[in-house]
């Protein structure tokens, strides 16, 4: 009897303690995450320009998106960047991880150098690449010229704006590469040695041993990278920035991404309702893509436990 009461009192004490220690996040989450999420959903059904009270307009913001050519342009641009950027990121990181895993002198330094671009301030990276892609004085075209390759106008050519963004993004794949390096360490060396004795070449071993073992990490990295590309803002914004608070979106808006157009609507055109609706559509797209990927993963991701089959 008394022990039950004591334990009940103990449980209540634990709950109070748990709540007390978690209280910063419980309060902060309510103010900075939960409330803004609810408010954003509500605003998405209103016409709101910051100076007048929000006016309910039903699903007008959502239906407007279908007829807004700039919306489609931005959506397609973002999709193109994602479709090319994600596989490039995965492949280059994987190749890089294999290179940086080779037992050569100075290995830790090489790893650090590949990672360093990811800690450079976003603006520095953006302006630096603008300079390197300069058609007259930039190094990128200089090298292309040395190799007798065509020298595109990059940021001035609607066809070359997106490759320019991707080029800049590839500079900061160090994080993905480092995660792959950690994953490669988990690949059992005995399997590789045994396969090598059986005469399996590098590619056969990669396909049958390395790739299945690291597939859960590939799934994780693919999801994270897709989400990052769907929300891509800073790189294209900086490459096409025309004033502090404005960016042109490149020639013919060829570099205008979804998140850039959303930002424009919110803070340049002050269409807060439309911007909120766009944010929810982005969220839904992200969710659907992530779920599709998780669903497909049953076919290509191998977890340790079902290796016994």
């Amino acid at each position: 009897m008394s022990t039950a009461r004591a334990s009940r009192r103990g449980a209540r004490r634990q709950t109070l303690l748990g709540l007390a220690f978690a209280s910063p996040f419980i309060i902060g989450g309510a103010i900075f995450i939960v409330w803004p999420t609810i408010a954003s959903a509500l605003y998405s059904f209103t016409d709101f320009n910051l100076f007048q009270a929000p006016r309910f307009v039903g699903i007008a913001n959502y239906s407007q998106m279908f007829q807004d050519p700039t919306f489609w342009k931005a959506l397609v641009n973002t999709a193109v960047l994602t479709v090319f950027g994600v596989p490039l990121t995965i492949v280059i990181s994987l190749v890089g991880a294999h290179l940086l895993n080779l037992p050569v002198f100075g290995q830790p330094i090489y790893r650090a150098l590949v990672y360093v671009p990811t800690i450079v301030p976003a603006v520095v990276g953006g302006y630096l690449w603008r300079w390197m892609l300069n058609t007259e004085y930039g190094f990128v075209n200089y090298f292309l010229g040395l190799l007798h390759l065509p020298q595109p106008l990059w940021l001035d050519d609607p066809a070359w704006g997106k490759p320019a963004i991707l080029l800049m993004c590839m500079w900061t794949i160090g994080g993905t590469t480092i995660i792959y390096l950690a994953a490669l360490k988990e690949v059992p060396a005995e399997l590789h040695e045994a396969a090598q004795l059986d005469g399996a070449g590098f590619f056969a071993r990669f396909r049958n041993i390395t790739w299945p073992t690291i597939s859960p990490v590939t799934l994780f990295q693919t999801i994270v990278t897709i989400i990052a590309y769907l929300q891509i803002f800073t790189q294209p914004y900086l490459l096409t920035q025309t004033r502090l608070n404005e960016s042109s979106g490149g020639p013919g808006q060829s570099m205008l991404t979804y998140a850039m157009y959303l930002y424009q609507n919110a803070f340049v055109f002050l269409k807060m309702g439309y911007a909120s609706a766009m944010a929810w559509v982005l969220f839904l797209i992200t969710l659907v893509v992530t779920l599709l990927l998780l669903w497909s993963s049953r076919r290509w991701v191998h977890y340790g436990s079902d290796e016994e089959r």
Binding site: T15, P24, G28, G29, A39, P121, W131, Q241
Partner: protein, 278 residues
């Protein structure tokens, strides 16, 4: 015998060359930044470009810190990053401790909420957050950039929580049996144990705040409040860009992050991998 040895040496050399080529792609932009910042204006605009300056000059660095209020911007950047680190180190471990080491009923749901908020696109909360700060009259101050950290940062809470689950319970039980209060257990036993995770969380927060562009862009309008992320645009003119001073300022802006990286390098790698590999 000798042949296999030389074959191995050849292979080793080939590998090293490949690695050098790969690494050079990542390093080269830094060389361009450094080179441009030490060049005279005529040299900056020379075609074809040269990597080694014709005449070395510090003129760009002088211009970088005098032409724009560089020191004000630098001070603001340091203040924002410093406060954000301080705030996150106060709050995130508290929440992580509740999620990892206190046996209460709400901890699993709360952990799920923390993880779910990591997936929410920042664009969803961007507009209402702006309206909230605007309503509180806090726009055009650094408050919106630092105060949220005082309530814990979901990713860092999660990371510290993962680390704390590895701290043996016996350690805490011993302290509790000795009559230590929960706070004392947390302060004297858990926090010292969690040092590596706290350092990782601190440097992550520093790098995020230091390199952040979108939030200063949204919230700072008064030039006296600008961080370097926003201030660097001053080198862009109507039709021309002062590439020399801009690259010099960029170099100065990058150096603090580089120092943090060099000093705390091993914590970076641990932190990045913690989220991905379980």
């Amino acid at each position: 015998m000798a042949r296999t040895k030389s074959a191995r040496a050849l292979r080793r050399t080939g590998q090293t060359i490949l690695i050098w080529a790969f690494v050079l792609l990542f390093v080269f932009p830094f060389l361009v930044m450094a080179s441009t910042s030490f060049k005279l204006p005529d040299d900056v605009f020379s075609a074809p470009p040269r990597l080694i300056p014709e005449t070395w000059t510090l003129q760009n660095f002088v211009q970088a810190v005098t032409e724009i209020p560089f020191l004000t911007y630098l001070g603001n950047s340091l203040l924002v990053s410093g406060l954000a680190v301080l705030f996150t180190l106060v709050a995130s471990p508290l929440v992580a401790y509740s999620l990892a080491k206190i046996g209460w009923r709400g901890r699993r749901p709360l952990l799920l909420i923390v993880m779910a908020t990591m997936m929410l696109p920042p664009q969803v909360t961007m507009v209402p957050l702006f309206l909230l700060w605007n309503g509180l009259g806090a726009t055009d101050s650094i408050i919106p950039l630092v105060l949220p950290a005082l309530f814990g940062t979901p990713f860092l809470i999660f990371m510290i929580r993962q680390f704390l689950t590895g701290v043996p319970n016996e350690l805490l039980e011993a302290a509790r049996i000795d009559g230590a209060s929960e706070w004392r257990t947390y302060w004297a036993i858990v926090l010292p144990q969690a040092r590596p995770a706290l350092i990782t969380a601190g440097i992550f927060q520093f790098v995020w705040s230091w390199t952040d562009f979108l939030n200063p862009l949204i919230y700072l309008n008064d030039p006296s409040k600008y961080t370097l992320s926003i201030g660097l645009y001053s080198f862009f003119g109507e039709h021309t860009v002062e590439w020399g001073p801009l690259m010099a300022a960029s170099l100065l802006f990058t150096i603090p992050a580089l120092i943090i990286f060099v000093v705390f390098q091993r914590f970076f790698v641990g932190g990045i991998s913690a989220g991905a590999i379980k």
